[in-house]
Symmetry: C2
Subunit: 326 residues, 2 copies
């Protein structure tokens, strides 16, 4: 019997790592998710990834599948030709210089492609997601931080140092809080997960009445953006006000992006997209208020169609695109 061809997609995030076996139509045949523990150090994280991929190869072998390539998305700047991390923030010590491509290619003997996770996610949305068929779009991922992938004329735009799309480090308040990147008032600081958690924790300490209290079972350490989104979806007033505030800030970032690039479509992905239609309800007017629609043309903002799978599907899209081009 002929084995089914597939690729292995790897999504390395700040809190969890996912691997999946994905066929050439984008169907996921197997998936594994594990906690990423960056405090264990880069070598240990890399060893964990190798182990997860080995398990996927074994699964493929046992289920009449064959893995043709590996694609991976990672935080930081990636030298995509060398497959090496050229820059990462201090939250992931030891990741800069990691020769990911060499390690994986030696280990698995298939072509390996790596790029920044924001860019990879955009590839996925363009392949089989919310941006399918659109030539010029930006996919914004809001999770632990904010990143994006810019697609121009159907191709990923990477910029001079591979840093294009790092809109999380564009300033929306020039005298705002100082960021690790050197800038002040970065979008990251207003809409990233930790800013949401900080805002909610502070209010809970002050005794605000909200359904979030029920969800965290009295332990402030249990506050996550998800507890906020769920409460908002249940109509909780405080949670809704938090989402409205985050959307207001995100609206500034998106409006700036539109005034700079005027893309045909903006796709929202990452953890924040779990807030669903409610997010769009707040974000769309926040953006429109700051845009001259007469000049820009329609403003099209959509939610990811790939949800949590965006990372692995994008990684697969990267692997397949590179196979087709080589």
């Amino acid at each position: 019997m002929k084995k089914k061809r597939c690729v292995c997609g790897v999504d390395l995030g700040g809190t969890k790592t996912a691997t999946a076996l994905i066929d050439f139509h984008g169907n996921i045949h197997h998936k594994t998710k594990k906690k990423t523990d960056v405090s264990d150090g880069a070598k240990s994280v890399m060893a964990g990834i190798v182990g997860m991929i080995r398990d996927e190869f074994e699964y493929a072998d046992n289920h009449e599948m064959i893995v043709n390539a590996i694609g991976m998305g990672s935080g930081g700047c990636i030298d995509k030709d060398k497959g090496v991390v050229s820059y990462a923030t201090s939250v992931f010590p030891g990741w800069i210089g990691m020769p990911i491509k060499d390690i994986l290619q030696k280990e698995f003997d298939v072509p390996v492609s790596i790029d920044n996770d924001g860019k990879v996610t955009a590839l996925g949305e363009g392949w089989i997601g919310a941006a399918k068929g659109v030539e010029n779009f930006v996919c914004i991922a809001v999770g632990t931080g904010v990143t994006s992938g810019i697609v121009i004329s159907g191709e990923l735009y990477r910029g001079y140092g591979g840093y294009a799309g790092e809109i999380g480090h564009a300033s929306i308040e020039m005298n705002g809080v100082e960021c690790d990147c050197g800038n002040y008032g970065c979008l990251d600081a207003y809409v990233g997960a930790s800013s949401i958690i900080k805002r909610v924790t502070k209010a809970l300490k002050k005794g605000v009445k909200t359904k979030i209290n029920d969800k965290i079972k009295g332990d402030l350490a249990n506050v996550t953006p998800q507890t906020v989104f769920e409460s908002a979806q249940e109509g909780d007033e405080f949670a809704l006000s938090v989402l409205a505030e985050v959307s207001k800030y995100l609206g500034v970032g998106i409006a700036n992006l539109i005034n700079t690039l005027n893309p045909e479509l903006i796709v929202l992905s990452g953890g924040l997209a779990q807030a669903g239609e409610l997010l769009l309800k707040f974000v769309r007017p926040a953006v429109k208020q700051r845009i001259n629609v007469q000049a820009t043309g329609q403003i099209n903002i959509k939610l990811t169609k790939l949800g949590e799978e965006a990372g692995v599907i994008g990684a697969a899209a990267l692997a397949i695109t590179n196979m087709e081009q080589s």
Copy 2:
């Protein structure tokens, strides 16, 4: 004798209009400049442009030259296929809907190309200016307002509604002053000519000691960015402080652009570029302070090589590019 082939470049600005006869190597053979009086209304401005072009054609005829095409840069959004102004701000009433291409083609019977002035200027810098040979760059023009032309893979990036590059309307202070465009804290409001004039006039009224006083001969209406730049170049402390402040704001806008697009090169043009090397001296550190150079790679910021001629040369570049493509 064989006539020398050239094109007519038209640069319509908020304060002056320039026309020029330019050959296919970018040499200017004749040039005219007149005041633009938008208060006379759009029809009158258009009639003035037609008259200026007619004079250029006449000059060509009398000097063994032949005009093969007309290229023009104008403020506002241009539907480049129809050659119609699709959007303009309220400072130029009646300009929206102006069928520039039809009018000029009927009048002069040569191919006519029109685009936004910021975009056209970028084309000029890429053709024979500071960005010659660079595939990915942004040319920022700071004059009455702030606009830019984004070149990606050697081609002008226009965006969905032709509004790409309008970084003057990206916010650097989300709660800053309200702009006509609907946004708040637009870069325009901090670095445009009128903001410089307003800042200086206010200080002069308060009795600040500066060489600007000598240049304006006691009349505050004579304050222009040029009087400020000249005084700064003469070492005047107050003028230098104004230039430093403007550069600080511009630095935020450029840093945001780098974090979004990470271009290989940024070219500064427009009236502000007349401040020369002094401008770079202030702008470069203002940008670098807000950028993670390790991640973005080198930050390359240059002054226009075309100076005041950037507009007409860019318009000629547009006309010639379109002749080659048709």
